[in-house]
Protein backbone atom coordinates (compact mmCIF):
# COMPACT_ATOMS: atom_id res chain seq x y z
CA UNK A 1 0.00 0.00 0.00
CA UNK A 2 1.22 3.48 -0.88
CA UNK A 3 2.30 5.85 1.87
CA UNK A 4 -0.48 8.00 3.31
CA UNK A 5 -0.75 11.65 2.24
CA UNK A 6 -1.88 12.74 5.71
CA UNK A 7 -1.58 10.74 8.88
CA UNK A 8 -2.98 12.15 12.13
CA UNK A 9 -2.68 10.26 15.40
CA UNK A 10 -3.99 11.56 18.72
CA UNK A 11 -4.13 15.16 17.49
CA UNK A 12 -4.85 17.72 20.21
CA UNK A 13 -5.19 21.49 20.30
CA UNK A 14 -6.34 23.87 23.02
CA UNK A 15 -6.96 27.59 22.98
CA UNK A 16 -6.60 28.76 26.56
CA UNK A 17 -8.45 26.24 28.70
CA UNK A 18 -10.76 25.21 25.89
CA UNK A 19 -9.70 22.04 24.10
CA UNK A 20 -11.04 22.27 20.53
CA UNK A 21 -9.43 19.15 19.10
CA UNK A 22 -9.33 16.31 21.61
CA UNK A 23 -7.45 13.33 20.21
CA UNK A 24 -8.24 12.93 16.53
CA UNK A 25 -6.97 10.10 14.30
CA UNK A 26 -7.43 9.87 10.56
CA UNK A 27 -5.56 9.07 7.37
CA UNK A 28 -5.87 10.55 3.91
CA UNK A 29 -4.72 8.09 1.23
CA UNK A 30 -3.33 8.91 -2.18
CA UNK A 31 -5.90 9.96 -4.80
CA UNK A 32 -8.84 9.93 -2.42
CA UNK A 33 -11.21 12.67 -1.41
CA UNK A 34 -11.51 12.65 2.36
CA UNK A 35 -14.27 14.55 4.13
CA UNK A 36 -14.23 16.25 7.51
CA UNK A 37 -17.82 16.84 8.56
CA UNK A 38 -19.26 18.36 11.66
CA UNK A 39 -21.31 21.23 13.04
CA UNK A 40 -19.81 24.64 13.81
CA UNK A 41 -17.23 24.41 16.56
CA UNK A 42 -16.54 20.72 15.92
CA UNK A 43 -12.82 21.35 15.38
CA UNK A 44 -12.70 20.97 11.58
CA UNK A 45 -11.05 24.28 10.79
CA UNK A 46 -8.55 23.88 13.64
CA UNK A 47 -7.63 20.44 12.31
CA UNK A 48 -7.08 21.97 8.87
CA UNK A 49 -5.04 24.80 10.37
CA UNK A 50 -2.78 22.25 12.01
CA UNK A 51 -2.06 20.30 8.87
CA UNK A 52 -1.51 23.44 6.77
CA UNK A 53 1.13 24.63 9.28
CA UNK A 54 -0.99 27.52 10.61
CA UNK A 55 -1.41 26.06 14.04
CA UNK A 56 1.24 24.13 15.98
CA UNK A 57 -0.21 20.98 17.55
CA UNK A 58 -0.25 20.57 21.32
CA UNK A 59 0.01 16.79 21.23
CA UNK A 60 -0.16 13.86 18.86
CA UNK A 61 1.55 13.00 15.64
CA UNK A 62 0.77 14.61 12.31
CA UNK A 63 2.58 13.90 9.07
CA UNK A 64 1.86 15.35 5.63
CA UNK A 65 3.60 13.71 2.65
CA UNK A 66 5.43 11.65 5.26
CA UNK A 67 6.95 14.77 6.85
CA UNK A 68 6.15 15.62 10.49
CA UNK A 69 4.35 18.97 10.59
CA UNK A 70 6.69 21.43 12.32
CA UNK A 71 8.40 24.74 11.66
CA UNK A 72 11.36 23.08 9.97
CA UNK A 73 9.18 21.18 7.47
CA UNK A 74 6.61 23.94 6.88
CA UNK A 75 8.24 25.14 3.68
CA UNK A 76 8.57 21.67 2.15
CA UNK A 77 4.99 20.75 3.07
CA UNK A 78 3.42 23.99 1.89
CA UNK A 79 5.21 23.90 -1.43
CA UNK A 80 3.18 20.74 -2.29
CA UNK A 81 -0.07 21.87 -0.71
CA UNK A 82 -2.98 23.79 -2.19
CA UNK A 83 -5.27 25.56 0.26
CA UNK A 84 -8.68 26.99 -0.57
CA UNK A 85 -9.60 28.72 2.68
CA UNK A 86 -13.07 29.31 4.01
CA UNK A 87 -12.68 33.08 4.12
CA UNK A 88 -12.12 34.90 0.89
CA UNK A 89 -8.59 36.34 0.96
CA UNK A 90 -7.98 37.30 -2.65
CA UNK A 91 -5.93 40.41 -3.27
CA UNK A 92 -8.54 43.17 -3.81
CA UNK A 93 -6.11 45.63 -5.41
CA UNK A 94 -4.92 43.19 -8.05
CA UNK A 95 -6.69 41.92 -11.16
CA UNK A 96 -7.84 38.31 -11.46
CA UNK A 97 -4.82 37.34 -13.57
CA UNK A 98 -2.41 39.24 -11.33
CA UNK A 99 -3.80 37.43 -8.28
CA UNK A 100 -2.71 34.17 -9.88
CA UNK A 101 0.61 35.46 -11.22
CA UNK A 102 1.65 36.93 -7.87
CA UNK A 103 0.56 33.76 -6.10
CA UNK A 104 2.65 31.72 -8.53
CA UNK A 105 5.66 33.86 -7.63
CA UNK A 106 5.29 32.86 -3.97
CA UNK A 107 6.00 29.29 -5.09
CA UNK A 108 8.98 30.41 -7.13
CA UNK A 109 7.06 29.99 -10.39
CA UNK A 110 7.67 32.84 -12.79
CA UNK A 111 8.04 33.84 -16.43
CA UNK A 112 6.47 31.85 -19.24
CA UNK A 113 5.71 28.91 -16.96
CA UNK A 114 3.64 31.13 -14.69
CA UNK A 115 1.78 32.69 -17.62
CA UNK A 116 0.97 29.25 -19.03
CA UNK A 117 -0.41 28.03 -15.72
CA UNK A 118 -2.43 31.20 -15.20
CA UNK A 119 -4.01 30.84 -18.65
CA UNK A 120 -4.83 27.17 -17.96
CA UNK A 121 -6.34 27.93 -14.59
CA UNK A 122 -8.38 30.87 -15.86
CA UNK A 123 -9.90 28.48 -18.40
CA UNK A 124 -10.40 25.81 -15.72
CA UNK A 125 -12.25 28.31 -13.53
CA UNK A 126 -14.14 29.78 -16.51
CA UNK A 127 -12.75 33.22 -15.77
CA UNK A 128 -10.95 33.94 -19.07
CA UNK A 129 -13.17 36.95 -19.73
CA UNK A 130 -12.47 38.33 -16.27
CA UNK A 131 -8.66 38.21 -16.41
CA UNK A 132 -8.28 42.00 -16.20
CA UNK A 133 -11.13 42.64 -13.77
CA UNK A 134 -10.53 43.54 -10.19
CA UNK A 135 -11.71 41.31 -7.34
CA UNK A 136 -14.49 43.52 -5.89
CA UNK A 137 -16.32 43.34 -9.23
CA UNK A 138 -16.58 39.52 -9.13
CA UNK A 139 -19.60 37.54 -7.94
CA UNK A 140 -19.34 35.13 -5.01
CA UNK A 141 -19.16 32.15 -7.35
CA UNK A 142 -16.38 33.72 -9.42
CA UNK A 143 -14.36 34.48 -6.28
CA UNK A 144 -14.73 30.86 -5.12
CA UNK A 145 -13.57 29.56 -8.50
CA UNK A 146 -10.62 31.94 -8.42
CA UNK A 147 -9.68 30.75 -4.92
CA UNK A 148 -9.80 27.18 -6.19
CA UNK A 149 -7.69 28.11 -9.24
CA UNK A 150 -5.20 29.88 -6.99
CA UNK A 151 -4.92 26.80 -4.78
CA UNK A 152 -3.90 24.80 -7.87
CA UNK A 153 -1.17 27.15 -9.11
CA UNK A 154 1.62 24.94 -7.70
CA UNK A 155 0.00 21.70 -8.97
CA UNK A 156 -0.41 20.44 -5.41
CA UNK A 157 -0.28 16.81 -4.32
CA UNK A 158 -2.91 17.56 -1.69
CA UNK A 159 -5.73 20.04 -2.08
CA UNK A 160 -7.29 21.26 1.16
CA UNK A 161 -10.75 22.73 0.78
CA UNK A 162 -12.38 24.43 3.74
CA UNK A 163 -16.09 24.74 2.93
CA UNK A 164 -15.52 25.26 -0.79
CA UNK A 165 -19.12 26.07 -1.74
CA UNK A 166 -20.55 27.85 1.29
CA UNK A 167 -22.74 30.72 0.17
CA UNK A 168 -22.89 29.72 -3.49
CA UNK A 169 -26.04 29.37 -5.58
CA UNK A 170 -26.80 25.90 -6.99
CA UNK A 171 -25.37 26.63 -10.44
CA UNK A 172 -22.07 27.85 -9.02
CA UNK A 173 -21.96 24.95 -6.58
CA UNK A 174 -22.45 22.36 -9.30
CA UNK A 175 -19.69 23.92 -11.38
CA UNK A 176 -17.28 23.75 -8.42
CA UNK A 177 -18.26 20.10 -7.82
CA UNK A 178 -17.67 19.28 -11.48
CA UNK A 179 -14.20 20.82 -11.30
CA UNK A 180 -13.38 18.99 -8.07
CA UNK A 181 -14.42 15.66 -9.61
CA UNK A 182 -12.16 16.38 -12.59
CA UNK A 183 -9.29 17.07 -10.22
CA UNK A 184 -9.96 13.86 -8.34
CA UNK A 185 -9.84 11.88 -11.57
CA UNK A 186 -6.47 13.48 -12.31
CA UNK A 187 -5.16 11.92 -9.07
CA UNK A 188 -5.01 14.85 -6.66
CA UNK A 189 -5.76 13.87 -3.06
CA UNK A 190 -8.30 16.11 -1.37
CA UNK A 191 -9.27 16.95 2.14
CA UNK A 192 -12.62 18.68 2.35
CA UNK A 193 -14.66 20.20 5.12
CA UNK A 194 -18.29 20.97 4.52
CA UNK A 195 -21.65 21.59 6.14
CA UNK A 196 -23.43 20.29 3.07
CA UNK A 197 -24.12 16.60 3.28
CA UNK A 198 -24.97 16.44 -0.38
CA UNK A 199 -21.54 17.85 -1.13
CA UNK A 200 -19.88 15.19 1.01
CA UNK A 201 -21.98 12.47 -0.61
CA UNK A 202 -21.11 13.74 -4.09
CA UNK A 203 -17.38 14.09 -3.58
CA UNK A 204 -16.01 12.08 -0.66
CA UNK A 205 -14.68 8.54 -0.88
CA UNK A 206 -14.42 8.38 2.89
CA UNK A 207 -15.30 10.77 5.63
CA UNK A 208 -15.32 11.33 9.35
CA UNK A 209 -17.96 13.12 11.38
CA UNK A 210 -16.49 15.32 14.11
CA UNK A 211 -18.25 16.84 17.07
CA UNK A 212 -16.85 18.66 20.11
CA UNK A 213 -13.32 17.98 18.93
CA UNK A 214 -13.71 14.23 18.54
CA UNK A 215 -14.35 11.87 15.64
CA UNK A 216 -17.68 10.16 16.26
CA UNK A 217 -18.06 8.18 13.04
CA UNK A 218 -15.92 7.13 10.12
CA UNK A 219 -16.50 5.34 6.83
CA UNK A 220 -17.68 5.64 3.25
CA UNK A 221 -20.88 7.66 2.77
CA UNK A 222 -22.86 4.50 1.93
CA UNK A 223 -21.51 2.54 4.89
CA UNK A 224 -22.24 5.40 7.29
CA UNK A 225 -25.80 5.66 6.06
CA UNK A 226 -26.34 1.91 6.31
CA UNK A 227 -24.77 1.72 9.75
CA UNK A 228 -26.37 4.73 11.43
CA UNK A 229 -29.69 5.22 9.66
CA UNK A 230 -30.61 2.32 7.43
CA UNK A 231 -32.06 2.69 3.96
CA UNK A 232 -35.61 4.02 4.06
CA UNK A 233 -36.96 7.08 5.78
CA UNK A 234 -40.64 7.95 6.09
CA UNK A 235 -41.62 11.45 7.19
CA UNK A 236 -45.20 12.00 8.31
CA UNK A 237 -46.59 15.51 8.61
CA UNK A 238 -48.57 15.89 11.84
CA UNK A 239 -49.11 19.62 12.12
CA UNK A 240 -48.88 21.25 15.52
CA UNK A 241 -51.50 19.01 17.07
CA UNK A 242 -49.93 16.99 19.94
CA UNK A 243 -52.71 14.39 19.76
CA UNK A 244 -52.01 13.75 16.06
CA UNK A 245 -48.31 13.50 16.79
CA UNK A 246 -48.89 10.97 19.58
CA UNK A 247 -51.17 8.94 17.34
CA UNK A 248 -48.65 8.82 14.47
CA UNK A 249 -45.81 7.98 16.85
CA UNK A 250 -47.87 5.08 18.21
CA UNK A 251 -48.56 4.00 14.64
CA UNK A 252 -44.89 4.08 13.68
CA UNK A 253 -43.39 2.43 16.73
CA UNK A 254 -44.28 -1.19 15.88
CA UNK A 255 -43.09 -0.81 12.27
CA UNK A 256 -39.45 -1.70 13.06
CA UNK A 257 -37.28 1.34 13.20
CA UNK A 258 -36.33 4.45 15.11
CA UNK A 259 -39.08 7.05 15.58
CA UNK A 260 -38.27 10.70 16.08
CA UNK A 261 -40.66 13.61 16.51
CA UNK A 262 -39.24 16.82 15.02
CA UNK A 263 -41.41 19.91 15.13
CA UNK A 264 -44.49 19.21 13.01
CA UNK A 265 -43.16 15.91 11.64
CA UNK A 266 -42.70 12.40 12.87
CA UNK A 267 -39.77 10.65 11.20
CA UNK A 268 -39.46 6.89 10.95
CA UNK A 269 -36.00 5.57 10.16
CA UNK A 270 -36.68 1.99 9.11
CA UNK A 271 -34.16 -0.61 10.21
CA UNK A 272 -31.75 -1.57 7.46
CA UNK A 273 -32.79 -4.50 5.31
CA UNK A 274 -36.47 -4.22 6.25
CA UNK A 275 -38.95 -4.09 3.38
CA UNK A 276 -40.59 -0.64 3.48
CA UNK A 277 -43.87 -1.86 1.91
CA UNK A 278 -45.37 -2.96 5.26
CA UNK A 279 -44.68 0.42 6.82
CA UNK A 280 -46.01 2.28 3.80
CA UNK A 281 -49.21 0.25 3.94
CA UNK A 282 -49.62 0.93 7.65
CA UNK A 283 -49.22 4.66 7.09
CA UNK A 284 -51.24 4.83 3.88
CA UNK A 285 -53.87 7.12 5.40
CA UNK A 286 -51.27 9.65 6.62
CA UNK A 287 -49.68 12.50 4.65
CA UNK A 288 -46.19 11.02 4.32
CA UNK A 289 -43.06 11.25 2.21
CA UNK A 290 -40.95 8.17 1.60
CA UNK A 291 -37.30 8.75 0.71
CA UNK A 292 -33.87 7.19 0.77
CA UNK A 293 -31.75 7.82 3.86
CA UNK A 294 -29.04 10.41 3.28
CA UNK A 295 -25.85 11.57 4.94
CA UNK A 296 -27.88 14.42 6.38
CA UNK A 297 -29.83 11.84 8.42
CA UNK A 298 -26.55 10.39 9.62
CA UNK A 299 -25.30 13.82 10.55
CA UNK A 300 -28.41 14.80 12.48
CA UNK A 301 -28.63 11.40 14.14
CA UNK A 302 -25.04 11.66 15.35
CA UNK A 303 -24.82 15.33 16.26
CA UNK A 304 -28.39 16.07 17.29
CA UNK A 305 -30.68 18.87 16.21
CA UNK A 306 -29.65 21.59 18.62
CA UNK A 307 -28.36 24.77 17.08
CA UNK A 308 -24.59 25.30 17.13
CA UNK A 309 -23.23 28.81 16.85
Amino acid sequence: MEAAIVEAVGLRKSYGKHEVVCGVDFTVRPRECFGLLGPNGAGKTTTIRMLTCFSPLDAGRLTVFGLPVNAANARAIKSRLGLAPQEENLDPDLTVAMNLLIYASYFGIGGAEARTRVAELLAFAELQDKADDRIPTLSGGMKRRLILARALINRPSLLVLDEPTTGLDPQARHLVWKRLRELKRSGVAMLLTTHYMEEAAQLCDRLVVMDHGRIIAEGTPAALIAEHVGRDVIEVATGDDPAARARVEALCRPLGGRVEAVGDHVILYLDGGRDPRDALAALAAEPFVHRRATLEDVFLTLTGRELRD
Binding site: C53, F54, A74, K78, N89, D93, I102, Y106, F107, G110
Partner: protein, 258 residues
Protein backbone atom coordinates in the same frame (compact mmCIF):
# COMPACT_ATOMS: atom_id res chain seq x y z
CA UNK B 1 13.93 33.24 -10.00
CA UNK B 2 16.03 33.87 -6.96
CA UNK B 3 15.35 31.83 -3.89
CA UNK B 4 16.10 32.20 -0.23
CA UNK B 5 15.18 34.85 2.27
CA UNK B 6 15.77 37.94 0.14
CA UNK B 7 14.10 36.45 -2.93
CA UNK B 8 10.98 35.64 -0.92
CA UNK B 9 10.95 39.06 0.77
CA UNK B 10 11.16 40.68 -2.67
CA UNK B 11 8.15 38.63 -3.85
CA UNK B 12 6.13 40.10 -0.99
CA UNK B 13 7.55 43.53 -1.88
CA UNK B 14 6.46 43.03 -5.48
CA UNK B 15 2.93 42.18 -4.41
CA UNK B 16 2.72 45.46 -2.52
CA UNK B 17 4.22 47.39 -5.41
CA UNK B 18 1.80 45.89 -7.95
CA UNK B 19 -1.23 46.79 -5.83
CA UNK B 20 0.15 50.30 -5.22
CA UNK B 21 0.47 50.95 -8.96
CA UNK B 22 -3.29 51.45 -9.14
CA UNK B 23 -3.15 54.44 -6.83
CA UNK B 24 0.36 55.70 -7.30
CA UNK B 25 -0.64 59.21 -8.40
CA UNK B 26 -2.69 60.02 -5.31
CA UNK B 27 -0.12 58.26 -3.18
CA UNK B 28 2.76 60.27 -4.65
CA UNK B 29 0.99 63.58 -4.17
CA UNK B 30 0.42 62.71 -0.52
CA UNK B 31 3.88 61.35 0.16
CA UNK B 32 5.84 64.03 -1.65
CA UNK B 33 3.64 67.08 -1.32
CA UNK B 34 3.62 67.37 2.45
CA UNK B 35 7.38 67.37 3.13
CA UNK B 36 8.04 69.70 0.22
CA UNK B 37 5.40 72.14 1.47
CA UNK B 38 6.89 71.99 4.97
CA UNK B 39 10.32 72.70 3.63
CA UNK B 40 9.16 75.69 1.62
CA UNK B 41 6.66 77.14 4.10
CA UNK B 42 8.71 76.67 7.25
CA UNK B 43 12.17 76.91 5.75
CA UNK B 44 11.58 80.04 3.73
CA UNK B 45 8.39 81.46 5.23
CA UNK B 46 9.18 81.07 8.90
CA UNK B 47 12.91 80.99 8.28
CA UNK B 48 12.95 84.69 7.39
CA UNK B 49 11.94 85.46 10.95
CA UNK B 50 14.48 83.13 12.51
CA UNK B 51 17.52 85.13 13.35
CA UNK B 52 19.86 82.29 14.18
CA UNK B 53 21.92 80.27 11.76
CA UNK B 54 22.16 76.92 13.50
CA UNK B 55 23.58 75.19 10.43
CA UNK B 56 26.53 77.53 10.38
CA UNK B 57 28.23 78.65 7.17
CA UNK B 58 25.77 81.53 6.88
CA UNK B 59 23.30 79.44 4.88
CA UNK B 60 20.23 80.20 6.96
CA UNK B 61 17.37 78.28 8.49
CA UNK B 62 16.21 76.34 5.41
CA UNK B 63 19.67 74.82 5.18
CA UNK B 64 19.36 73.65 8.77
CA UNK B 65 15.83 72.38 8.26
CA UNK B 66 16.12 70.41 5.00
CA UNK B 67 17.89 67.26 6.27
CA UNK B 68 15.44 67.01 9.16
CA UNK B 69 12.46 67.30 6.82
CA UNK B 70 14.01 64.54 4.71
CA UNK B 71 14.33 62.27 7.74
CA UNK B 72 10.82 63.01 8.99
CA UNK B 73 9.34 62.50 5.52
CA UNK B 74 10.94 59.06 5.44
CA UNK B 75 9.63 58.36 8.94
CA UNK B 76 6.08 59.39 8.07
CA UNK B 77 5.91 57.52 4.77
CA UNK B 78 7.17 54.29 6.35
CA UNK B 79 5.04 54.65 9.48
CA UNK B 80 1.79 55.13 7.58
CA UNK B 81 2.45 52.21 5.27
CA UNK B 82 3.51 49.84 8.06
CA UNK B 83 0.51 50.70 10.23
CA UNK B 84 -2.60 51.40 8.16
CA UNK B 85 -1.32 49.52 5.11
CA UNK B 86 0.20 46.49 6.80
CA UNK B 87 -2.60 46.22 9.35
CA UNK B 88 -5.12 46.05 6.51
CA UNK B 89 -3.11 43.27 4.89
CA UNK B 90 -2.74 41.46 8.22
CA UNK B 91 -6.42 41.64 9.20
CA UNK B 92 -9.15 42.91 6.84
CA UNK B 93 -7.71 41.63 3.57
CA UNK B 94 -6.05 38.53 5.05
CA UNK B 95 -3.22 38.96 2.60
CA UNK B 96 -0.68 37.61 5.10
CA UNK B 97 -2.80 34.49 5.60
CA UNK B 98 -2.97 33.93 1.87
CA UNK B 99 0.82 34.22 1.59
CA UNK B 100 1.37 31.96 4.60
CA UNK B 101 -0.36 29.13 2.76
CA UNK B 102 2.61 29.18 0.36
CA UNK B 103 6.27 28.37 1.10
CA UNK B 104 6.81 31.98 2.23
CA UNK B 105 6.95 32.41 6.02
CA UNK B 106 6.47 35.15 8.60
CA UNK B 107 10.07 36.41 8.49
CA UNK B 108 9.90 36.98 4.74
CA UNK B 109 6.46 38.61 4.94
CA UNK B 110 7.60 41.05 7.62
CA UNK B 111 10.82 41.78 5.72
CA UNK B 112 9.02 42.26 2.40
CA UNK B 113 6.35 44.51 3.85
CA UNK B 114 8.99 46.56 5.72
CA UNK B 115 11.03 46.82 2.54
CA UNK B 116 8.00 48.10 0.71
CA UNK B 117 7.22 50.74 3.37
CA UNK B 118 10.90 51.72 3.28
CA UNK B 119 10.73 52.03 -0.52
CA UNK B 120 7.99 54.62 -0.16
CA UNK B 121 10.12 56.34 2.47
CA UNK B 122 13.04 56.41 0.03
CA UNK B 123 10.85 57.97 -2.62
CA UNK B 124 9.79 60.72 -0.19
CA UNK B 125 13.41 61.24 0.86
CA UNK B 126 14.55 61.56 -2.76
CA UNK B 127 11.83 64.14 -3.46
CA UNK B 128 12.93 66.28 -0.53
CA UNK B 129 16.55 65.84 -1.58
CA UNK B 130 15.84 67.03 -5.13
CA UNK B 131 14.05 70.13 -3.84
CA UNK B 132 16.89 70.79 -1.40
CA UNK B 133 19.50 70.41 -4.14
CA UNK B 134 17.48 72.69 -6.41
CA UNK B 135 17.29 75.30 -3.66
CA UNK B 136 21.04 75.10 -3.06
CA UNK B 137 20.61 73.71 0.45
CA UNK B 138 22.96 70.77 -0.02
CA UNK B 139 26.64 71.56 0.25
CA UNK B 140 28.40 68.19 0.15
CA UNK B 141 28.79 65.27 -2.24
CA UNK B 142 28.01 63.08 0.74
CA UNK B 143 24.40 63.93 -0.04
CA UNK B 144 24.42 61.14 -2.65
CA UNK B 145 24.08 58.65 0.20
CA UNK B 146 20.92 60.37 1.49
CA UNK B 147 18.56 58.06 -0.46
CA UNK B 148 20.24 55.14 1.30
CA UNK B 149 19.84 56.94 4.61
CA UNK B 150 16.14 57.46 3.80
CA UNK B 151 15.88 53.71 3.08
CA UNK B 152 17.45 52.88 6.44
CA UNK B 153 15.18 55.36 8.27
CA UNK B 154 12.28 53.82 6.38
CA UNK B 155 13.24 50.31 7.50
CA UNK B 156 13.55 51.44 11.12
CA UNK B 157 10.11 53.02 11.20
CA UNK B 158 8.52 50.32 9.05
CA UNK B 159 9.55 47.59 11.48
CA UNK B 160 8.45 49.76 14.42
CA UNK B 161 5.11 50.29 12.68
CA UNK B 162 4.77 46.53 12.15
CA UNK B 163 5.35 45.95 15.85
CA UNK B 164 2.50 48.38 16.58
CA UNK B 165 0.28 46.77 13.91
CA UNK B 166 0.85 43.32 15.38
CA UNK B 167 -0.73 44.57 18.62
CA UNK B 168 -3.53 46.68 17.11
CA UNK B 169 -7.15 45.58 17.15
CA UNK B 170 -8.64 48.58 15.34
CA UNK B 171 -7.42 51.45 13.19
CA UNK B 172 -8.10 53.84 16.11
CA UNK B 173 -5.17 52.27 17.94
CA UNK B 174 -2.79 54.02 15.53
CA UNK B 175 -3.98 57.42 16.78
CA UNK B 176 -2.08 56.73 20.00
CA UNK B 177 1.03 55.74 18.13
CA UNK B 178 1.01 58.73 15.82
CA UNK B 179 0.17 61.26 18.52
CA UNK B 180 2.29 59.91 21.36
CA UNK B 181 5.26 58.55 19.44
CA UNK B 182 5.54 59.85 15.89
CA UNK B 183 4.44 63.46 16.61
CA UNK B 184 6.63 63.69 19.70
CA UNK B 185 9.60 62.61 17.63
CA UNK B 186 8.69 65.01 14.86
CA UNK B 187 8.82 67.99 17.22
CA UNK B 188 11.65 66.99 19.56
CA UNK B 189 14.26 65.29 17.40
CA UNK B 190 16.16 68.37 16.38
CA UNK B 191 14.38 69.00 13.10
CA UNK B 192 13.19 72.52 13.87
CA UNK B 193 15.70 73.72 16.47
CA UNK B 194 19.12 72.57 17.66
CA UNK B 195 19.00 70.17 20.59
CA UNK B 196 21.63 72.32 22.27
CA UNK B 197 18.86 74.80 23.07
CA UNK B 198 17.11 72.22 25.30
CA UNK B 199 17.82 71.70 29.01
CA UNK B 200 20.17 68.81 29.72
CA UNK B 201 17.46 66.31 30.77
CA UNK B 202 15.39 67.03 27.68
CA UNK B 203 18.45 66.70 25.48
CA UNK B 204 19.22 63.32 27.04
CA UNK B 205 15.62 62.24 26.42
CA UNK B 206 15.79 63.43 22.82
CA UNK B 207 18.81 61.24 22.16
CA UNK B 208 16.68 58.23 23.14
CA UNK B 209 14.43 58.85 20.13
CA UNK B 210 15.44 57.03 16.95
CA UNK B 211 14.42 60.01 14.82
CA UNK B 212 17.01 62.19 16.59
CA UNK B 213 19.75 59.91 15.27
CA UNK B 214 18.10 59.82 11.85
CA UNK B 215 18.02 63.63 11.68
CA UNK B 216 21.60 63.93 12.90
CA UNK B 217 22.80 61.39 10.33
CA UNK B 218 20.93 63.13 7.50
CA UNK B 219 22.35 66.47 8.54
CA UNK B 220 25.88 65.09 8.65
CA UNK B 221 25.48 63.70 5.13
CA UNK B 222 23.95 66.89 3.74
CA UNK B 223 26.77 68.96 5.21
CA UNK B 224 29.55 66.43 4.60
CA UNK B 225 30.51 66.31 8.27
CA UNK B 226 30.92 62.55 8.52
CA UNK B 227 32.64 61.83 11.81
CA UNK B 228 32.57 59.34 14.67
CA UNK B 229 29.22 60.74 15.83
CA UNK B 230 27.70 59.97 12.43
CA UNK B 231 28.89 56.37 12.73
CA UNK B 232 27.25 56.16 16.16
CA UNK B 233 23.95 57.46 14.70
CA UNK B 234 24.19 54.84 11.96
CA UNK B 235 24.88 52.15 14.56
CA UNK B 236 21.92 53.19 16.71
CA UNK B 237 19.56 53.10 13.71
CA UNK B 238 20.77 49.64 12.70
CA UNK B 239 20.38 48.40 16.27
CA UNK B 240 16.81 49.73 16.49
CA UNK B 241 16.06 48.15 13.12
CA UNK B 242 17.32 44.72 14.16
CA UNK B 243 15.49 44.82 17.48
CA UNK B 244 12.16 45.95 16.05
CA UNK B 245 12.42 43.50 13.15
CA UNK B 246 12.93 40.63 15.59
CA UNK B 247 10.01 41.80 17.70
CA UNK B 248 7.76 42.30 14.66
CA UNK B 249 8.51 38.76 13.42
CA UNK B 250 7.73 37.37 16.86
CA UNK B 251 4.49 39.27 17.38
CA UNK B 252 3.14 39.05 13.86
CA UNK B 253 3.91 35.34 14.04
CA UNK B 254 2.10 34.97 17.34
CA UNK B 255 -0.91 36.70 15.87
CA UNK B 256 -1.15 34.63 12.68
CA UNK B 257 0.21 31.23 13.71
CA UNK B 258 -1.75 30.04 16.73
Amino acid sequence: MTTGFLGDALRVWRRDMESWRKYYKASLVGALGEPILSLLAIGYGLGRFVDIDPGGAGLGYAHFLAPGILASAAMNAASFEATFGSYTRMTEQKTYDAILATPIGIREIVAGDALWAASKATLSGIAVLLVAVGAGLVTSWWAVVLPAVALLIGLVFATMGLVVSSRAHAYDFFTYYFTLVISVMYFFSGIFFPLASLPAWARAAAWCLPLTHAVALSRACAAGTIDAAAVVHLGVLIAVLLASYALAVRWVGRRLIA
